[in-house]
């Protein structure tokens, strides 16, 4: 078929426009990654990870912040994992009707998009107004756990959905009860999904500032928590958040880049660990 000249030009212009968009995005995203590495890596001496922050963030390291972040995300995961497993099982096993399953999934997507600051405000109401707590790592962990619950549930649901049907049919044919099917077929087969979902949830929790803003985090002077109610923690994102608000001192600035680099390393490290399991699940879903 002959092409008119105009059509060819439109085609080329369209290709070029899309290629330009892609190039812009590529440059932008590479620039972001580059800026963080370029400015942050020189600050990352071993001492930076093991020293305590001093002089209001202008020198020292981020040890307490790393410890605090690890405490917060571990608590969040412990809170969230059983709940998310329950939600995923309800979706995959106990809800029989398709519309109801879809409603649950839509609700999870919606909950996943709720602004994180709302968890901060709600935490302030519940923990400080109702319970009378001071800042506490437990409050922060609970809030973060609630926040990552939809992420974790969706990851698990996707994994359960990608399991070949024949596993369930075989379990049925062997006369297993629903509970036996869950414990000896579905959950063991989804261990990878559980793990990658957990890692993604941890990654998301590690980077969030807003939920811990009012209820959990302090800028300095917090090592290991000593109790439940009034034991604040330091946290990497909160540390960066506070320092970024007055970043005019050059030594604070380099310290900031270093802290950002550590945080990004932690978050991307967790997401990358989850990657192989996700890719495998993706492939299996396509081959099933």
């Amino acid at each position: 078929m002959r092409r008119s000249v105009g059509r060819g030009w439109i085609d080329r212009a369209f290709w070029l426009a899309c290629a330009l968009c892609a190039a812009c995005v590529g440059v932008l995203l590479a620039g972001i990654a580059g800026a963080i590495l370029w400015r942050g890596l020189p600050v990352l001496r071993p001492g930076f990870l093991t020293a305590v922050s001093s002089e209001a963030g202008a020198s020292g390291g981020v040890r307490d912040e790393i410890v605090g972040t690890l405490i917060l995300i571990t608590t969040a995961l412990l809170v969230s994992a059983p709940l998310a497993t329950g939600v995923a099982l309800v979706h995959a096993v106990y809800l029989r009707s398709l519309p109801a399953r879809r409603r649950l999934l839509v609700a999870l997507y919606t909950a996943n998009a709720l602004p994180s600051i709302l968890f901060g405000i709600a935490g302030m109401v519940v923990f400080s107004r109702f319970f009378g707590w001071g800042k506490s790592w437990l409050a922060g962990g609970l809030l973060l756990g609630l926040m990552i619950l939809p992420t974790l549930s969706v990851a698990l649901i996707e994994r359960l959905r990608s399991l070949p049907r024949k596993y369930r049919e075989a379990a049925s044919a062997l006369g297993l009860t629903r509970a036996q099917t869950v414990w000896s077929v579905l959950l063991p087969q989804c261990a990878g999904g559980l793990l990658s979902g957990a890692l993604l949830g941890l990654a998301r929790a590690a980077g969030e500032t807003a939920p811990i803003l009012f209820a959990a985090a302090v800028f300095s002077g917090a090592g290991l928590p000593s109790g439940l109610r009034d034991s604040p923690v330091a946290a990497l994102p909160y540390h960066i958040f506070v320092l970024a608000q007055d970043s005019f001192d050059p030594s604070v600035e380099s310290h900031l880049w270093g802290a950002a680099c550590v945080l990004v390393g932690l978050v991307l490290g967790l997401s990358l660990l989850a990657l192989p399991a996700r890719l495998r699940a993706h492939e299996e879903a396509q081959n099933a």
Partner: protein, 305 residues
């Protein structure tokens, strides 16, 4: 259908699953109830005037939500104007225009984009403070802004932040369309551009709309990054609603207000606290609505759900 019919025994696994699910649902709905209950003093004081009020001056007991809604709307609009064409264009390029052998490239791009979506917002905020702020200050020099902390800065930063979300979801939407459609279109002699514009895009439209809506949901609710670059000065309800001038001035969004020092100040005054939780209620309702529509579009009913 799995397992045998219920045999009358209590199944602990089911009990716990349903229990945990109810707990989760109750907590998320409970947050809504919590905000509604805490903001009661405000509704008694201002009534529906809270939603139509154009001034926020807490010392005089005046609480109107519109200045903050205005800030959020402007910032999100800038973000979407920036991210939508760029994101969808880039998704079309990687999903449709790259040669078919370039699967691996596409996978690599998708992985990179998803990793970038995971970068914490506080880090984007830091980039905004240290890099974007100066850039905007120079960009706006002809209009002589007071600083680089403007609504425009917030909007651009948000645009960069929602870009990965929009690209990734658009890519999913385009990838969901059967390859045979493309082959048929090309076999009929359509050019690449015509295939994409006339065959692929109309079918992918709900998915693309959902990508933009979920991006919007993220933009509406983003707190920390916006907080750091927006200047946090209450928007005067603009006399010039249609003017672009506010873009060059510092402003305030729903989220930056909630994350700011006023939240601490408000704790002791029931009315003021009611106003803060009222803002939270408005934000909850707005974001939930937008994301709910987006999620419904992304998860079409029927077979797969």
């Amino acid at each position: 259908m799995i397992g045998r019919r219920w045999d009358g025994r209590l199944e602990m696994t089911a009990v716990f699953s349903w229990g945990f699910t109810s707990l989760a649902v109750a907590t998320f709905l409970g947050m809504l109830v919590l905000f509604a209950a805490q903001s009661l003093p405000l509704w008694r004081h201002a009534g529906a005037g809270f939603l139509s009020g154009t001034t926020w001056f807490f010392r005089a007991g005046q609480f109107g939500v519109l200045p903050m809604v205005y800030g959020t709307a402007i910032v999100s609009a800038v973000a979407l104007l920036f991210a939508t064409p760029l994101g969808i264009g880039a998704a079309i390029f990687t999903a449709e225009l790259l040669p078919r052998g370039a699967r691996r490239t596409r996978l690599a791009v998708k992985t990179a984009v998803e990793l970038l979506a995971g970068i914490p917002s506080v880090v984007y905020g830091l980039l905004g403070v240290l890099l974007l702020r100066d850039f905007v200050l120079r960009l706006l020099a002809p209009w002589d802004p007071l600083s680089g902390d403007t609504l425009l800065t917030g909007g651009l930063l948000l645009g960069i932040m929602v870009l990965p979300t929009i690209i990734s979801l658009s890519d999913d939407a385009l990838g969901g369309i059967a390859g045979s459609q493309r082959l048929a279109a090309r076999a009929l002699g359509l050019t690449r551009a015509e295939t994409v514009l006339k065959v692929i895009l109309p079918q992918a439209l709900p998915g693309l709309a959902s990508a933009v809506l979920l991006g919007l949901g993220r933009a509406l609710g983003e707190t920390i990054a916006v907080f750091l670059v927006i200047g946090r000065q209450d928007n005067q309800w603009p006399e010039r609603l249609l003017s672009l001038r506010p873009l060059t001035e510092a402003g305030q969004t729903l989220t930056s207000k909630l994350g700011g020092s006023e939240t601490f100040l408000a704790l002791d005054d029931p009315l003021h606290w009611g106003a803060i939780t009222g803002l939270a209620l408005v934000l909850y309702a707005g974001v939930a609505l937008v994301s709910w529509i987006g999620a419904r579009l992304a998860l079409p009913g029927g077979g797969r759900a």
